[in-house]
Amino acid sequence: MIKKVKKLVKDFGLSEIRAGMKITAKQLVTDKITVQFPEERTPISPRFRGLHALRRYPNGEERCIACKLCEAVCPANAITIESEMRDDGTRRTTQYDIDLFKCIFCGFCEEACPVDAIVETHIFDYAFESREGSIIDKEGLLAIGDENEKAIGQARAEDSKYR
């Protein structure tokens, strides 16, 4: 009997709606968490693993020495490297291709690299217009690196104290 009365009061007192409206009212006055992508972007961890890039030293010399450790460690066989001896006697790549369809963004290449040449940037919004577009070559990777060197360097600096 008492249960029945309690239910009647709850139903006719619109308590459920009031509880819901309370949340709505609270949200009306708090800060919004929605971001207007691509104009707005969420913050990203310095360890985020996005599109790859090849870096250069400040003097413009490419870092990669064609040691092929990234190629060896890549679990998806996404990296293809050919090397040669450059005229100055150093070991350099003639080909450095990453197949982004194969890549699983595990970051092992970055870990294996002894000279911090191959890195994964914070870029994740990219698209291809053709099937072949999924393969980025050496020039493409170096261009991404050149364009984003500042951000890459900053991310590495931020993360360095945890390494």
């Binding site: 064609a66 040691c67 092929k68 090397s83 001896m85 070991r91 000279v115």
Partner: protein
């Protein structure tokens, strides 16, 4: 040699007294780290990596130099041993650069492996690292001596195996450097083995530099067919190309070593001169065509002519299968005109001598008589066995046209021009027969004997295990058969063994399938006889034929139809051939090599043939099919080999009369450098850049030079003349990398 029992890590193992702990451990599969120890080199005990704890000894002992004794208890991984291993590793890494990512040894480096297992992960060393300036040591070996850990394996290899002390340690302590003594680089014909013995990346292969990483390649077992030994090798391939050749252990054939020729010849495979597409000549112009068209052209040309006018010539380096099929094709056509002996002055009297000694048997000889041979360069692995015998006290005497530079001491040497060799050997035989009080045959009755001949004969008869080696240069001699007969007689009279190294490559396969005329024409007669159709199997007359100009002239006749199966493009072949069928080269075809011990070693193709070329046995099988010849139903090269190996060549003993033949007053001995001996090595650039590969000189004595009106710097048959007295009177010794000229 007493069997003893010792205990290593609690396991009871057996060894001989005096045997080192490390060799017992190796046999038992117990791992002891090491750098300076190498099973084929002397013990230096200078790296200290193999320190183990021997109970009863206050300090850890090096396992490589501590002889095992009965009841010894050894620990390789207790605390004491581990502490010393770790300490030694730390010392070795003090000066070793951390450039593994650009080091060609990375991934197959003994220092890397041992550091992973026994090293510490942090270094306490904060001082400056040592840097060593590099001195170039030639076209084959790349040095990076900063990486050197002073194990001295390369130094010991040079002194003990190669027999030419070229590398050494100079300075002490921090200043200690391993470097070549001479600035002109390493000259040994076995130098490439230093790359194999170097445990770090200080010595690496120059042609292979920065090509691929060691883990990217797959290794295929193969056999090198440049010489009579058939050294066992691994060809290491990447993306269908041979990137490197390294030695494969086979104690009875090549032990752990291979010659530089076997190691670096692969470079020729990638040469731009490779024949890659079938071609036919239409009205004097070469046209690239399909295989069908080329084969059609080949068989229609062959069919047009009668069988008697058909001849087949093959390279000595062809595989057993190729030789067998070409021989079968020729004989099925009804011709007996076939030969491989293109470089023999007089094929009708070519030397026929049986080899009666094994390669391992050569190590046990106590006297070796080397006739007409620069054995060190001709057959490096055979020479190495003889060198091992000399280290045990064996004496060597030579009968050569020139005093060659051997890597062991030659006790007595006789300089003898080719025209005098028969006389010289007759004298030796006469002394031997007289000392055995045997009856002299008629031809020896008038022979005069000098002291040198007596010395050689006495040394041979005093030897218990003698061997007489007949070398390549005898092929320049028109009386080669007489020389061979005398060698046989000398060996018989002195109870010595014989070794016939007069023809190299895969000659014994040609012998096995009787690739020589049985009633037909030999190589020389074919060029004299104006035949109408030829099949050439990897033959390049400019280099291969004894009278190259005459051969090319004959092949260039308008009525001579020439089908050339070539692995390389060659200007002279292009000038006379009518059809060119591109041939798979070494390592691109499966095949069989028969070595000096008559051991047939088969191997599979390591890589696919370059371009549009095809393995020779397939081309010859299809040619035979198109010619509608019976008995060529093969689907696999091993079936061909089975058929070929089931043959037993009829060794018809030919009677040889020993009479000094008419020979020109001044004879020429023509020998190619070892790196111009076959078509593949001729196209290997690095080999050509070595000192051995660049030799080109005609050595002549002053008196002979006067007769020939030559002076220093002139050219003799296109080769610069060098006048000195190391060469026998009455002959010109030509050692060159250039094609033969008249």
């Amino acid at each position: 040699m007493v069997d003893i029992e010792i205990e290593i890590d609690g396991n009871v193992v057996h060894g001989h007294s005096g045997e080192s702990i490390i060799s017992i451990a190796d046999r038992e599969g117990i791992d002891i780290p090491r750098f300076c120890y190498h099973k084929k080199l002397s013990v230096a005990a200078n790296c200290r990596m193999c320190l183990v704890d021997v109970e009863g000894n206050p300090k850890p002992q090096p396992a490589c130099s501590t002889p095992a004794s009965a009841g010894m208890r050894v620990h390789t991984n207790n605390e004491k041993a581990k502490a010393s291993q770790k300490a030694v590793m730390e010392f070795l890494l003090i000066n070793h650069p951390l450039d593994c990512p650009i080091c060609d040894q990375g991934g197959e480096c003994e220092l890397q492996d041992v550091a992973m297992e026994y090293g510490s992960d942090v270094s306490k060393f904060n001082e400056g690292k040592r840097i060593v300036a590099d001195k170039g040591i030639g076209a084959l070996i790349q040095t990076d001596m900063t990486r050197c850990i002073h194990c001295t394996r390369c130094v010991r290899f040079g002194a003990e195996v190669a027999g030419i002390v070229e590398m050494g340690a100079t300075g002490r302590g921090e200043e200690l450097k391993i470097e070549p003594f001479l600035s002109e680089g390493i000259q040994s014909e076995l130098s490439g083995n230093m790359i194999d013995v170097c445990p770090v990346g200080a010595l690496t292969s120059k042609p292979f530099r920065y090509e691929v990483r060691s883990w990217q390649m797959s290794s295929v077992q193969s056999v090198a067919r440049h010489d009579l030994v058939g050294s066992n090798v691994f060809t290491q391939t990447h993306k269908g190309k041979v990137k490197r050749v390294v030695a494969r252990d086979n104690e009875s054939v090549n032990e752990t070593w291979i010659s530089d020729r076997d190691r670096f010849s692969y470079e020729g495979l990638a040469n731009e001169n490779r024949a890659l597409t079938p071609k036919i000549k239409v009205k004097g112009e070469w046209q690239e065509v399909s295989w069908e068209t080329a084969l059609e052209a080949a068989i229609s040309g062959i069919k047009k002519n009668s069988a008697e006018a058909f001849g087949a010539l093959a390279s000595k380096n062809a595989t057993l299968e190729e030789l067998y099929l070409l021989q079968k094709l020729t004989r099925e056509l009804g011709s007996e005109n076939l030969d491989t002996r293109l470089d023999v002055a007089n094929p009708s009297s070519a030397s026929a001598l049986e080899t009666t000694i094994s390669l391992t048997g050569l190590e046990a000889v106590d006297h070796a008589l080397i006739i007409n041979s620069y054995l060190r360069l001709e057959q490096p692995m055979i020479n190495h066995r003889i060198r091992k015998a000399t280290l045990q006290g064996a004496k060597v005497s030579t009968v050569n046209a020139k005093a060659f530079d051997f890597n062991y001491r030659v006790a007595s040497s006789v300089l003898s021009a080719p025209q005098n060799t028969v006389v010289t050997l007759s004298g030796v035989l006469k002394v031997l027969l007289e000392s055995n009080s045997q009856a002299l045959p008629d031809y020896l009755k008038g022979t005069k004997v000098n002291q040198a001949q007596i010395d050689i004969a006495n040394a041979l008869s005093a030897a218990e295990n003698g061997v007489v080696v007949l070398g390549e240069q005898v092929s320049s001699n028109p009386c080669a058969d007489q020389v061979a007969k005398l060698v046989e007689q000398i060996a018989k009279a002195s109870n010595a063994k014989t070794l016939n190294a007069s023809a190299t490559g895969n000659t014994l396969s040609a012998e096995k399938v009787s690739f020589k005329p049985n009633g037909g024409l030999n190589a020389k007669q074919m060029f004299d006889a104006d035949l109408n159709a030829f099949v050439l199997l990897d033959v390049y007359p400019a280099f291969d034929c004894v009278d190259s100009a005459a051969a090319i002239e004959n092949l260039s006749r308008d009525d001579a139809f020439v089908v050339a199966l070539n692995s390389f493009e060659d200007a002279s072949v292009l000038s006379f051939a009518d059809v060119i069928l591109p041939l798979a080269s070494f390592y691109e075809t499966s095949g069989t090599h028969i070595n000096i011990e008559n051991v047939a070693q088969s191997y599979s193709a390591s890589v696919k043939a370059a371009g549009d070329s095809k393995p020779g046995w397939k081309v010859l099988k299809v040619l035979a099919d198109l010619l509608e010849l019976p008995g060529f139903d093969y689907t696999d090269s091993s079936q061909v080999a089975d058929d070929a190996l089931s043959l037993s060549p009829s060794l018809a003993a030919t009677e040889v009369d020993i009479i000094a033949m008419e020979v020109p007053n001044i004879a020429t001995v023509w020998q190619y450098t070892p790196y111009a001996s076959d078509v593949l090595t001729r196209h290997s650039q690095s080999l050509q850049q070595t000192q051995i590969g660049q030799v080109s000189e005609a050595t002549v004595s002053e008196a002979t030079a006067k007769i020939l009106e030559l002076s220093q710097g002139d050219c003799y048959k296109g080769v610069p003349v060098n006048i000195n007295e190391t060469v026998a009177e009455g002959c010109v010794f030509v050692h060159t990398n250039q094609a033969r000229q008249r």
